[in-house]
Amino acid sequence: MRDLKHLIYFENLLQEANHALIAQARADGKVCVAYTCENVPEPLLNLDRACSIRLTAPHTGSIDIATYYMTNLLCEPSRALLERAIEGGYSFADCVITPDGCTMMNRAVENMELLQTMGKDKPGFFHEYMEIAFKNTESDVALSVLQCTNHILTPLHDNYGIDISDAAIRKAVADHNRICELIRAIGDFRKEEKPRITGYEFHVLCLATYVCPQYLILDKLEETLEELKTREPDDKAYRARVLLVGSEVDDSGLVKLIEEQGAFVCCDRFCFGSYPGRVPIVLNDGEDALTQVCRHYIRNCQCPRMMNQEKVYGRKQYVAELAREYKADGIIYQQVKFCDPWAYERTLGAAMLQNDYGYPVLSVDRPYNVASSSGQMRTRVQAFVESIEIKKIQRGGKHEDR
């Protein structure tokens, strides 16, 4: 297929945590709100002149200093973030907002605070830690509203004069939805039998919306969508269409690796992905925007820490529905090593998707830096793709509708 015009632009941006667009945003007078977790309502970090930047650590090499502080028993993403912070890679941040979601990410940010890796020269700088919802109930919505008020809105207003009014939230939601609609529309091309966008390309675009000031990439995303409408797909059949599920995937190299084995990543249900992170938020005029935003995040949350059984079963059903919608032949459940929530979620998810929904599943844990064990991952994915091919041959070459 013809290269997408802006793909290399986005790829280059993703090479650095502190990239050119962040510098531009700061020059524009923006307040850079760093965050680490999809459970923090993103529009609230993009109010007024605030812009959200989700922290990543591209091209992580040695994480020895972070390992001293956190030991090698914690997941590598959390250590990679701490290492990058110690190196000064997040000096752009004007504040850090972290939920007490998973323990490891929380400890990473606490270490950042104690080591004063950011904000030394910024009088308004703050760290905030929030409680986040565990269940999908109205009581949890009330908790979330209170937490967002106390740990996002009030500090942003008090420290940086950010407009946190209902109107400001609605505007931020509208901007957020525009990004979501673009990503959704781009992602929908993956449903095609001969898709005009690869999983890798989609992941690059989607990831950019998390780690870049969204207002600065809007135009390029719109252009990309227009470009895709007339892009001719390759006349090749993928050996298998797979849905990628799991914990953090902030490295498009993983998706590329999977697709190099002949699979097509037709859909994404992982942290930094488009489901549920790029599902538009529908607001009505009957209730304040903050409550509606919180409710949206709780209702749509697919994080394994959501603990009521409706959510536990619901996450698997969600994956099955995505697999059906995107015509996946198989599902890859992946987690970064030492991730406790996804260790259990992967186990139960793989079992249920196989036994209850009839999908072939590859269940795998991996290091954060995929390149360090690419041989092992390639082997696992190759074997999985071959097993799907064999099943297809046995069915006479047809995709199985479930």
């Binding site: 959390s78 606490e110 409680e131 908790l143 030492f338 186990t347």
Partner: protein, 532 residues
């Protein structure tokens, strides 16, 4: 570096001077029991008879025999006397009596818990009328939401206690089978073995099946939260038991989570009322609340004694008794009150007599971190072998606030917040979660308060909450001149760190850093890696 005054025991210990000699590497149990002098040996013997009677009364009930042969974890309870020997090594006088009083009571409590499980278990006793009034709860969970239910009408079944937790106290290898099952089904080996083993028991279908409903809690940690999903799936889909997930906020020091936590308690209570058909009783609740306050006062008094040069109630006995009373009981059982006061009286008597439990106390140590100290007799060993006195452990540093105990309309509303507060201040979790202040800063405050010059840091390698602060502990201990001894382990999986490997970490530190010789060299190397 901070130093403390050495305290020398002027009294020569009666009986065995080198208890290490009674271990035998060819046996999985001790070659013989410890000679503690005539008086204390006779006392220990009478306690052994009592334990035998407790076990004997249990096993003569036919359904208990059936349960014994049905559930693999029951095998651990054959070694209860061995466990008792483990936790009384080198003890004499009041400390011996304290250990027996507390442990024997806990053992009797666990025995009753198993008997209750078997009575209602569909596969064993199948007493449906009884089972229909049983509520299954998590092991790592406060049962405050049950405080207002009459214990004669609604029965709280902590079924994970006898299956995983207590059984591991008496047999260090017993959970390995369940860990293997869990890992066979795909749960990685780097997660905490406690919830992993519980998930393995559920997968293996080795939990008793009884009750009208279950209440699960997200305490202690991510692992517990996630393991619940696997367990609840089986409970709901196979056994038709509705489950309620009681969410306990993590940021327990922040005031803006309390109302939510209180709402969760109300929901849990309503769930239990709905499924048991019994109503919450405020009289029952406030009676339990009074007991909780009484237990808190006793515990504070024990800690005050431990802050003196002559600590009395410490070690695994202290920790396990507190776990049982604070968490598993939460004021519901009146028998704990007399025990609390008896233990306090013994401790006060020992303190007044300046009793010591080693030849010297060279260091005063706070034991921090998540501990495997039930399957290894670590803390008594530490004081006997090296003169390092463990003043308290992290799991015993729990709530010190009084809760409302008088029945008034305002206190009924406050009661929900009190129960929520206790829930959030659950053992271990009140430090491992809620921010670095409760984990790191509070440790140094405790060192100051109890005049400790040393911290023995249990580094549970699967506990990410604690290991994530490793570097901060190191740096801050150095800045304060506090010795910090890191002792790694993997909780109830002894294949990763054997008992001797755990002890060797202390041995190495004491020899190489502090340049000390052991008080009792016979204890430095104990051939008990294969022992129960």
């Amino acid at each position: 570096m901070k130093t403390v005054e050495k305290v020398v025991n002027p009294v020569r210990r009666a009986g065995e001077q080198s208890p290490g000699k009674i271990y035998n590497e060819k046996l999985k149990v001790r070659a013989r029991r410890e000679w503690r002098g005539v008086r204390d040996t006779f006392y220990d013997y009478t306690r052994w008879l009592y334990l035998m009677s407790v076990l004997g009364r249990f096993i003569v009930v036919p359904r208990n025999i059936k349960g014994f042969f049905r559930y693999r974890w029951m095998m651990s309870y054959l070694f209860v006397p061995h466990g008792m020997d483990k936790f009384t090594i080198g003890l004499r006088d009041e400390a011996l009596r304290i250990a027996h009083t507390s442990f024997n009571f806990v053992i009797a409590d666990v025995t009753q818990a198993i008997a209750n499980c078997f009575r209602g278990d569909r596969r064993v006793g199948n007493d449906k009328a009884y089972s229909d009034k049983c509520v299954i709860t998590d092991e790592n969970s406060m049962v405050t939401f049950m405080m207002g239910f009459d214990t004669d009408k609604v029965h709280t079944i902590l079924r994970e206690v006898p299956t995983m937790f207590a059984s591991n106290i008496f047999h260090q290898f017993n959970v390995m089978h369940y860990l293997d099952i869990a890992q066979q089904y795909g749960i990685p080996g780097d997660v905490c073995p406690m919830p992993e083993a519980e998930a393995g028991i559920s997968i293996e279908d080795d939990f008793c099946v009884l009750g009208c409903c279950a209440v699960q809690n997200n305490t202690t940690c991510d692992g517990s939260l996630m393991g619940n999903g696997i367990i609840a799936k089986r409970l709901e889909r196979e056994y038709g038991l509705p489950t309620f997930q009681l969410a306990t906020p993590l940021r327990h020091k922040e005031p803006d989570v309390l109302d939510y936590a209180a709402r969760e308690i109300k929901e849990a209570i309503a769930f239990v009322e709905k499924h048991t058909g019994e109503k919450w009783d405020w009289d029952v609740y406030f009676t339990a609340a009074k007991r909780v306050n009484d237990a808190t006062r006793c515990r504070i008094a024990q800690m005050e004694i431990n802050s003196t040069p002559y600590p009395q109630f410490f070690g695994a006995a202290f920790s396990l008794y507190n776990d049982t009373n604070y968490m598993g009981n939460s004021g519901r059982n009146a028998d704990f009150v007399a025990k609390d006061h008896k233990l306090l009286a013994l401790a006060q008597k020992g303190y007044e007599a300046k009793r010591m439990y080693a030849r010297e106390y060279r260091h005063r140590c706070i034991v921090w971190g998540v501990q495997p100290q039930y399957c290894i007799d670590m803390l008594y060993w530490m004081v006997q072998c090296w003169g390092v006195m463990p003043l308290t452990d992290m799991l015993s540093v729990i709530n010190t606030e009084m809760i409302a105990e008088v029945d008034t309309p305002e206190n009924r509303e406050q009661a929900y917040r009190d129960m929520a507060m206790l829930n959030m201040e659950m053992i271990m979790r009140n430090h491992t979660h809620g921010g670095y202040k409760v984990l790191v800063d509070e440790l140094w405050e405790l060192c100051e308060q109890m005049n400790a010059d040393m911290v023995m840091m249990w580094e549970h390698m699967s506990c990410k909450a604690l290991t994530g602060m490793h570097g901060q502990f190191e740096e801050q201990a150095r800045a304060r001149g506090i010795h910090i001894m890191w002792v790694s382990h993997d909780l109830c999986d002894p294949r990763v760190f054997t008992r001797q490997a755990i002890r060797d970490q202390v041995n190495s530190y004491m020899r190489t850093v502090l340049r000390e010789e052991p008080l009792d060299p016979s204890l430095e190397i104990i051939p008990d890696n294969e022992a129960y």
